[in-house]
Symmetry: D2
Subunit: 301 residues, 4 copies
C-alpha cells in the first residue's frame, strides 16, 4: 500500500479591488473581489516542500491588481479569462486555472435629478458572479465560463401553493393553496463558448429570471426554478445549462386567534433556520460536455 497526493489546488482568495476609470470627469468604477487558483502536478511542493514550481499566491495577487490596469475590466468574465490564461502561461506544471469574481454593484448618487460624476452608492438586488476554468494551453486549451448571481432575495406575497405531497407518520405540515414564497437565490449558468457580450447577457438573464419568478404561479419552489431555467435556455442559445440553489425562506402565518384577531394571510413570521433548500439543474439535451466548468463551485449538486 502506498500513499499519494490526489487532487490539489492553491491560490489567492478574495483580492478586493476597485478600478476607477477617470479618462473624463465622469468616472466609472468596477468593484471586484477576485480569487485565483492553479491545479496540476504540484507533488514536489506537497511531498518534498520544494517550491520551485509554485507561483506564490502573493504573486497571483500582484498580477490581479496589475491586470486591472494593464488589461482593464470590461466585464468580470473577460478579466477572469485573461488572468486564467496568464497564470497557465506562467506556471509550467499547472494544467488548469480557476478564477472566480464577484462584482459589487454601484450606481451614481442622484443630485437634482442627475447622476453625479464621481459619487456612488452601493445597491443590493443580487451580486454578479463568474467562475472561469481554463484547462491546457494553445491547441489543447479549453475554457469554461459559468456566470451567475447570488443574494438575489425575492418574494411573492401570493401566487404560491403547496399541497398534494407525500405523507408519512412524521408529516404534520398543513396543505395550502396560498402562501408566501421567498428565497435568496444563488444561480449559475454555463455558457457554450466565450464569444459572448458578457455584460449584455448578464443584464438580460437577470431581468428574465426575475420576470419569470414573478409570473409563474407556483406549485412549489422546484417548479418556479425549473420554469425560470427553462425560459433562460429558450431565449439564450449560448447558455448550455443553469443551476439553482434556493433556500426556501419560510414565512409562517402567525396564529393570532388566541388574541381574538383574524389573520387572513397578512402577518407572517420570517424564520431563519431551519430552512428548505432546493437545488436543481435545467439543461439542454444537446448541451456540450461540462468538463471542468463546475470544478470546485460550492453548494451545487
Amino acid at each position: 500500500m502506498a500513499i499519494k497526493l490526489g487532487p490539489n489546488e492553491y491560490g489567492k482568495a478574495q483580492v478586493h479591488l476597485v478600478r476607477v476609470y477617470r479618462d473624463t470627469a465622469r468616472h466609472e468604477i468596477r468593484d471586484l473581489t477576485v480569487s485565483t487558483s492553479l491545479r496540476g502536478n504540484f507533488s514536489a511542493a506537497h511531498i518534498e516542500g520544494d517550491q520551485g514550481d509554485v507561483l506564490p499566491t502573493d504573486t497571483q495577487k500582484n498580477t490581479v491588481f496589475s491586470f486591472a490596469k494593464e488589461k482593464g475590466i470590461d466585464s468580470p468574465e473577460q478579466f477572469a479569462l485573461e488572468l486564467a490564461d496568464h497564470f497557465l502561461a506562467t506556471s509550467p506544471v499547472a494544467d488548469g486555472a480557476r478564477v472566480e469574481v464577484e462584482e459589487a454593484a454601484w450606481k451614481r448618487i442622484d443630485v437634482d435629478g442627475e447622476g453625479h460624476d464621481h459619487a456612488f452608492v452601493q445597491t443590493g438586488g443580487g451580486t454578479r458572479t463568474t467562475v472561469v476554468n481554463v484547462d491546457g494551453r494553445g491547441s489543447e486549451r479549453t475554457a469554461h465560463v459559468v456566470s451567475g448571481l447570488k443574494d438575489l432575495v425575492v418574494l411573492k406575497s401570493t401566487g404560491s401553493e403547496f399541497h398534494g405531497f407525500l405523507k408519512d407518520r412524521y408529516t404534520t405540515l398543513q396543505e395550502t393553496d396560498d402562501r408566501i414564497l421567498a428565497t435568496s437565490l444563488i444561480t449559475r449558468w454555463r455558457y457554450e463558448g466565450t464569444d459572448v457580450d458578457w455584460n449584455k447577457s448578464f443584464d438580460a438573464i437577470k431581468a428574465l429570471l426575475l420576470q419569470r419568478f414573478a409570473e409563474i404561479h407556483s406549485k412549489a419552489l422546484q417548479q418556479s426554478l425549473y420554469g425560470m431555467g427553462e425560459a433562460v435556455l429558450e431565449q439564450f442559445q449560448d447558455v448550455a445549462e443553469i443551476k439553482f440553489s434556493a433556500p426556501n425562506k419560510h414565512h409562517f402565518l402567525v396564529d393570532l386567534s388566541p388574541f381574538g384577531v383574524d389573520n387572513p394571510n397578512e402577518v407572517f413570521y420570517a424564520a431563519d433556520r431551519p430552512y428548505g433548500l432546493i437545488e436543481a439543474t435545467v439543461l439542454r439535451d444537446d448541451a456540450s460536455d461540462a468538463g471542468n466548468a463546475w470544478h470546485a463551485i460550492p453548494g451545487f449538486c
Copy 2:
C-alpha cells in the same frame, strides 16, 4: 457595604415579521425586525426570582405580531410608538419602554416595464432604522424618536483630500490631495416631537444626505459628515440633532511600479481591517434635552 441592582432592561430581540397588505390585487409589503424592551423596578425578578412584575418576552413577541394586524404598519416610527405605549400600559412597574425597528426595503419586480402586483425583489442602499423611547404615562409621558439608516455604502472616486495633519514619530502616512473616500454609513437623527410625516421625512433626509456626500469637496471624512449633518438641520426643523458613525473604508492605491506599470489613481486595494472610525454629532444650539432618546443605542459616542 451593600450590593444592589442598577440599571436593567429586558425584552424580545429581533422579531422578524412581514406584513402583507392585500386589500386589492396590488399587494404592499412591510418587512420589519422589531426589538422591544422594558426598564424600571424589576428588583423582585432579579433578587428573589419573583416574576410577578415580568411581562414575558414571549408575550412581547406575540404583541408585536398582533399589532401588525390590529394597528397596522404605516411607518416604523408609528408602529414602535404604539408598541411602547402599550407595553408601558401593561407593565405597572416599568417606567420606560424602548422599541427598535429595522426595515428591509423591497421594490416590485419589473415585468414588461411595469411593477408586478405581488412579486418583489429586495434592494440594498441602506436599511431604515428607528429607535423609540417612551418614559412614563399620561401627563408624565415623554416620547423620543431617533430614526436613521445603516449600511449605506457610499464612495467618491475623487474630490477627497487628506493633508496638513498632526505628525509625531509614529507618522508614516503620506499626504494626498486626491484619494478615494468611502464609508458604510450609520446615521441616526433625533426628532423634536412626534408630529412628523415619518415616511416622507425619511425619504427626504436620505436623499439629502446622499446629495451632500456627493457635493462636498472633502478635506476629511469628518468634514463631509459635518456638512451632511448641517444640511439636514438646516432643512428639517423638526430634527434636533444627528449622529454619524462612519468607518473610513480605506482604498489604498496599489504600487504597480515594480511591474513597470503606472497607476494614476486607477487601481485600489479595498481593505477590511483595521479601518478608521469617525463618530460625530451635529446639533442645534437650542435643541431640546435629549433625555432618554439615545438610551442604549449602540455604537455612538
Copy 3:
C-alpha cells in the same frame, strides 16, 4: 438658531496583532485586536477641514504595533492604559482617549502529553475584553478600566424554572418548572483604580461567574445574572460594578406526541431569533462615580 458640533470621536478600529515572545525556545503568544480613539475639541477638522489637530488613525495603528514591542503586552489592560496615556500626551486638543482590546485565547498543542514549544490551537470558551478610558493628563488624569468577557456560551440542562409571571391578553407561554437555560454571555466589570493584577483577576472572575451560573437554581435568567454579579462583588473588592447582556437562547421542547413519541425534556429545538435579551447591572452602594468608564461601550443599558 445656530448649528454646532456635538460629541465626536475618531480612531483606528480593529488593529489585529500577534505578539510572539521568543526569548527562549518555549514561545508565548498574545493575540489582540485593538481599537483606539480620541475625543475632544476637533471642531476645526469637522467645520473647516483643518487637520492640524488630527493625529491620523494610520499613526494610531503604527503606534499600536510599535508599543507591542516597545512596551510589551503583559495584559490587555496594561497595554490599553499605556496607549491611552500616550495618545493624550501626543494630541494636544484631545481631552479623552479610549482603547478597546479583545484577546483571542490560544493553548499549546498537546504532543505526547506535553504542550508544544511553538505550536498553538485557538480555544473558545469566551473572549477576554477590556475598555480603557482615560480623561485628562497629569494631576487631572482619571483612568477607568472596564474588563469583561464576550461569547461565553453556557447552558444548564435542568435547574431552571419560569413561572408566576405577569399575564395579559397576549400571553400564551406555558409556565414550567424545568427548562433549559442557555445564554451567550457578554459581561463587563468596572474596576476601582488600576492597581490590579489584571490577568489573575480576570481568570478568577471568569471561573467564579461560571461556577455561580452552574450552582444557582434559576427562577429566571435575571436571577442567575444577579447572583453571578453579587458573587463577583462579594469576592473582588476592587470591582465597583458589573454589567450583563445576556440573550436568552431559547431551547423549545419539541412536541413529538403526533408521532406517538414521548419527550420528557430530552429533545429541544435550539432557536436563533427572536430571542429574549436580559441586561442588568449589579453594583455596590458605595461605588465610585463611573465617570466616562462606560463611554461608548455598546449594548449595555
Copy 4:
C-alpha cells in the same frame, strides 16, 4: 433541441437540536445541526408541480427531532446513517440521501475542581462534522461516511519557511526561513465502510492532526497538510483518503524601523483578506472508489 431536468436535490437545512440524556442526575448533552436531502427522479415536482413524490422538508425536520429520541445520538455518524436509510425507505423515487451534521462541543463547568452535573460551557477548538451519503436500498445499498473538522485554528510561531519559489515579473514577495504559519483548517476524511468506532476514531484523528501540524518543520503549508494527511492514512487503516482546505492566514511582520524599533519576528499584523487558500487530497493507492462520498460537499477540489 429539448430542455430537461438535470441533477437536483432538496431537503431541510440546519435543524439545530440539543439532546439531553438525563437518565441519571449526571446529564449528557449532544448539540447537533443537521441538514438532510434527497435526490432522484423528482421530475414531476419540477416540471408539472406535482408533489406526490415529495416528502416535505418539514417532515424531514420532524423526523430529525423524533429520531433524536427514538434512535438516540451515539455519534453524528450513526445518527446520520439512520436518517439517510429512513428517508430512502420512505421516499420511493429517491435514489440517494445525504445527511450532514455539525456538532458543537461542550464541556462541564468546573465547580471546586469537579465537572458539574448539568451545567456546561461551549468550547472552541474546531467543530466536528460528518456527511453521510447513502445510495440505493437493500442489496443495492452503498453508504459513504466522510467525517471531519472545521474552524480548527492553529498557529506555529516558528518552524515554518517559504523560499525557492517560482518567480516572474509580478513577484515581489521576499523569501523567508522563519515565519508564522497559521490556518483555520477544514478537513474531511472518507472512511472505508461503516464498521467504525466513530467517536474514538474522531478523537484520535483530531489529536494526530494537531500533533503532526506541531511537529512538522514546514517548508510550505502544502507540505504540512500532506504530512498531516499521510500520518492519518498510516495510522488509520479504515480511512481511504483525507482532504484539506486551508486558508493561509497571513501574519505579516510589521516594519518598525521607521520608529527606530527592531522587530526580530516578534510583532505581526494578522491580515484578513486576501488570503492564500491551499486545498489538497492525500489518499491510498488502493482506496476504494469514492462513489458519491464527496457529493455536494462544498469547498473541496
